[in-house]
């Protein structure tokens, strides 16, 4: 069998928006920009909003970062033919749920946010359940290879405690770098009002986020 080497990665650079979010770069070109809706209005489940920043080793927010989001729906099903089939029959996501999106930081503040639905637990390797999580891929100027991490939800104590990926993190204190923090009160839960979570990503330093070689 022919064996090739993977094309080496290079930084996305400061003008990544031109290609992946041209509206943000300042011009209209495509009929539809991809990655705008992770979970459209018809998608089922608890609406959530994630807010955060990506911070460099000096604590300064990156103002030119782009994140891609990949997640399962509220039932733990990915919009992909290889999603686990726990009941042994093909499972598909509902209309309006894509599970993928693109998020860019504000050019002045570095703040970013996205709205979606909270994912359900996903079947992992060897029949173990993975706690609800959102997969993130981070590219920017100065990042030579896109960084992979996961966002988990702080209130999922039991599921997080049994999560096979979180359990791989030897320094247990570092597991908390992957927990999104709930903002506001629990009694505001309604389908229309999204729950708000805070998730800051530290590229370097004492609070360095756990990044994966996936």
């Amino acid at each position: 069998m022919t064996s090739l080497k993977e094309t080496p990665s290079q930084t996305a650079g400061p003008y990544v928006h031109i290609g992946l979010a041209p509206g943000a770069a300042g011009f209209d070109i495509y009929e539809t920009e991809l990655g705008q809706d992770i979970a459209g209005p018809e998608a089922k489940g608890q609406r959530i909003r994630i807010e955060g920043q990506v911070l460099d080793g000096t604590g300064a927010p990156l103002k030119d970062v782009l994140l891609e989001v990949w997640q399962a729906n509220a039932k733990g099903i990915y919009a992909h033919r290889e999603t686990p089939q726990p009941e042994g029959k093909p499972q598909q996501v509902e209309a309006g749920f894509r599970g993928w999106g693109r998020v860019i930081s504000d050019f002045d503040t570095g703040d970013w946010q996205f709205e979606t639905v909270k994912p359900g637990p996903v079947h992992g390797r060897g029949g173990q359940m993975m706690a609800p999580h959102i997969n993130l891929w981070i590219v920017a100027r100065g990042i030579n290879v896109g960084l992979n991490t996961r966002l988990y939800f702080e209130e999922e104590h039991e599921a997080n405690g049994n999560d096979p990926v979180l359990k791989l993190i030897e320094q247990t204190a570092r597991r908390s770098t992957l927990l999104a923090r709930r903002q506001g009160q629990a009694d505001t839960d309604t389908a229309e009002t999204p729950l708000v979570y805070r998730f800051d990503i530290h590229l370097q330093g004492p609070d360095e986020t756990v990044f994966f070689d996936i």
Partner: protein, 241 residues
């Protein structure tokens, strides 16, 4: 049955995170090691795209931003190639997106203040899905070199940024393509983040006279290789073999 894993990324082939000659990488590189994660459903799945997600002419940068009757200034090129995996199998129906500066080395981006002029007929981005053989093609102009604030006199070689999805989130890749024979390639701190000179060669698009259209445009060929996938030894299935 557990689906087959993707081959591990060869992190000695890719650039490391910390590459001090590319100055921005110093404060934007993790200092702790990456945690290796065996593939789960979260990594072997990923977004897929349909022809309806994009429009017919999105891969023609000569026309996709041009005003009526207008055309961008610059060297007209056909950029084409195939997306393959490490087993040399085509990756069909995958999204390839590109972006680039114009012939003056100026980007159409509100944060680019370079002296080079904007071209009113050039936007600088394109996208296309690969066909059943993994092939893709764009029409564009060759981008110019441009200066950047790294060293006091650093210039990027002419390059086009390339983003590819593959079939799994684990295959997601962004890279840059350079042009055969460009003397700036060897001088560029971003190119030099890649430790192995053989790996750098993989980013250089080759002049392709066979696809060059006489009296119209010159052609460059750039093949992209995504992570391959292990075979399933005990199952008779197509994927991964």
């Amino acid at each position: 049955m557990t689906p087959p894993d993707y081959f591990s990324r060869d992190r000695r082939w890719h650039p490391p995170a910390f590459t001090p000659d590319y100055k921005t990488s110093v404060s934007r590189s993790p200092r702790l090691p990456l945690l290796s994660l065996e593939n789960t459903a979260s990594e072997i799945t990923g977004p897929t795209f349909a022809p309806t997600d994009i429009a017919e002419g999105d891969n023609d940068l000569l026309t996709n931003f041009a005003r009526d009757g207008g055309s961008p200034i610059g060297e007209r090129i056909l950029l084409h190639g195939r997306v393959l995996d490490e087993n040399a199998r085509p990756v069909p129906n995958t999204l390839v997106e590109i972006w680039q500066a114009n012939a003056s080395g100026r980007y159409r981006h509100k944060k680019d203040g370079y002296l080079g002029a904007l071209d009113p007929n050039f936007g600088g981005c394109g996208r296309v899905l690969t066909d059943d053989n993994g092939a893709y093609a764009f029409r564009t102009v060759k981008p110019g070199a441009y200066p950047w604030r790294n060293g006091i006199n650093d210039w990027r070689p002419a390059h086009i940024h390339v983003s590819v999805f593959g079939s799994a989130f684990a295959q997601r890749l962004i890279t840059q393509l350079y042009f055969e024979g460009d003397p700036l390639i060897a001088r560029c701190p971003i190119v030099s983040t890649i430790p192995d000179p053989v790996a750098v060669q993989q980013l250089i698009a080759r002049l392709d006279m066979n696809e060059t259209r006489p009296l119209d445009m010159i052609a460059y060929r750039f093949d992209i290789v995504l992570r391959g996938r292990r075979s399933t030894m005990f199952e008779n299935r197509m994927e991964g073999n």
